[in-house]
């Protein structure tokens, strides 16, 4: 997962993202690629001294959006994850589920082309898990490649046609990448990357 969101360099093999070979890319060239990736970390990685609003707004501000263009989308996203009234709360005052929702809101706020989520439903109730699944599916239909690492069989079975890579004891059980959760769905513009 770290290789996917460009937090590590591979010791062997190669990394290609968005049609670019990034295995040996100069570190100065990586930030523009990282801005095209949304990441939901298992441990949330929220900045403790920033409010939920500022945490969610961070990708937009780093991308250079003006404050006028930040306010609306962030409020909307916080409302969507059910945290409209917790916008000014700091992460330590939020529950695990609330923190996870803030982390998800931060990951998708700038409509990433690649969304990498590590156990995104681990701390949320089933209703929120369904909504997240809907969000991921919607993003995928809009062109976002969604990569989810999960132990949640329910989440897997609820995503028909998703390509699956099964890992067991650190070994990829299906290196061909053809394992699918039936029935497969047809993508109008071809399969996502």
């Amino acid at each position: 997962m770290k290789l996917l969101y460009l937090a590590q360099r591979p010791t062997r093999g190669r990394i290609a993202l968005f049609g670019e070979e990034l295995t040996d890319a100069a570190r100065d060239s990586l930030p523009p690629f990282r801005r095209r990736i949304g990441v939901v970390f298992q441990d949330f990685r929220l900045i403790r001294h920033l409010s939920a609003f500022d945490n969610v707004a961070l990708p937009l501000r780093i991308a250079g959006a003006s404050e006028e263009k930040v306010e609306g989308p962030v409020r909307e996203m916080l409302a969507w994850v059910g945290l409209a009234d917790r916008a000014s709360a700091r992460p330590p005052t939020l529950s695990g589920g609330e923190q996870q929702r803030v982390a998800i809101a931060r990951a998708v706020i700038n409509r990433p082309e690649l969304l990498v989520a590590d156990e995104p439903t681990g701390n949320v109730d089933s209703d929120m898990a369904q909504r997240l699944l809907h969000l991921f599916t919607s993003l995928n239909r809009l062109g976002t490649t969604v990569v989810v690492a999960t132990h949640d069989i329910g989440l897997i079975s609820a995503t028909p046609g998703a390509q699956m890579i099964r890992l067991e004891n650190g070994t990829m059980l299906d290196p061909t990448g053809t394992l699918r959760n039936p029935p497969p769905i047809a993508y109008p513009r071809g399969e996502p990357e």
Binding site: A7, P32, R45, L50, A57, L58, P59
Partner: protein
């Protein structure tokens, strides 16, 4: 824009979660600024003094007549009529006793203290000193020609050496200040490592991260250096009376307008140095991460 980092938004400033003036950096810079300004003022005063002494000694000579005023008039005429001599004046005995009194106290004014007669004169270029000395000795046996420049040369050398010492101390203190800023920047990076990792992960560039630290350290440095400068100015003003006395002894040397401008530039120069050093240190540290 070169100074865009100075104008970060409130949301950017919240990223570090620390207000300016937290930590030891402003205090360290204040102490360094204070020390540098005092040392620099001393160095500049020494330079001014050396300049006054050198100018006063240049082309100035004395004739010392050991047996007092007995041959004084003849010696004055001999010196004044020599080619290449511009201005001749005997030094009145009371004037010499007054000068001695400054150094020796009331004993300097005592008639029991024998003092030679002195003739002071200025020379034009090309004066034949040996010929002049022979001419004076003909009318005042035992008279001796004294070049002020030769007499004051050891003092001037000491003043120049002290001046260079002050300059070296200023450079050393500025280097220590820069080193303190590097340590402060590294400490701040360690404190905010998590925030930096998150920002990098989201796509922040090294410059975006650096600007946050650069601005904070620049504000700390500016406030610290101004505080140090005010303290140094107060001490220098308090020393002014004593300096006036010393300046009087040395011929009235004081800090000139250019010297004061240099002193006023020190806090600003230190702020600029701290900001530049912080930027370089943060950028160098960030480059070690992916």
């Amino acid at each position: 824009m070169m100074f865009r980092w100075l104008f970060t938004s409130p949301s950017e400033r919240r990223l570090l979660g620390a207000r300016p003036l937290q930590g030891p950096t402003p205090w360290v810079i204040a102490i360094m600024t204070f020390s540098i300004m005092i040392v620099a003022a001393a160095g500049l005063a020494l330079a001014e003094t050396a300049g006054v002494v050198a100018a006063g000694a240049e082309a100035r000579y004395s004739v010392q007549i050991p047996d007092g005023e007995r041959n004084l008039d003849a010696a004055v005429r001999a010196v004044g009529s020599a080619p290449g001599v511009a201005k001749v004046e005997p030094v009145p005995e009371r004037e010499m006793r007054r000068i001695l009194e400054r150094w020796l106290g009331p004993a300097g004014a005592s008639a029991d203290l024998p003092i030679p007669a002195l003739i002071s004169f200025e020379a034009r270029p090309g004066l034949d000193l040996a010929a002049l000395e022979r001419r004076v000795q003909a009318v005042a046996p035992g008279a001796r020609l004294i070049a002020h420049g030769d007499t004051l040369a050891p003092l001037l050398r000491s003043l120049r050496a002290l001046q260079w010492l002050a300059f070296g101390l200023v450079v050393l203190l500025a280097s220590a200040c820069a080193a303190a800023v590097v340590l402060a920047a590294r400490g701040a990076l360690d404190t905010h490592r998590f925030t930096i990792d998150v920002m990098h992960g989201i796509g922040a560039t090294d410059l975006q991260v650096t600007h946050l630290f650069q601005r904070k350290i620049a504000i700390d440095a500016l406030i610290g250096s101004l505080a140090g400068a005010v303290a140094a100015a107060l001490v220098l003003l308090a020393l002014a009376a004593g300096a006036a006395f010393a300046g009087d002894l040395m011929g009235g040397a004081t800090l000139g307008g250019l010297d004061l401008a240099v002193l006023l530039l020190i806090p600003l120069a230190l702020t600029a140095l701290a900001t530049w050093v912080a930027r370089a240190a943060v950028l160098a540290a960030l480059r070690t991460a992916l």
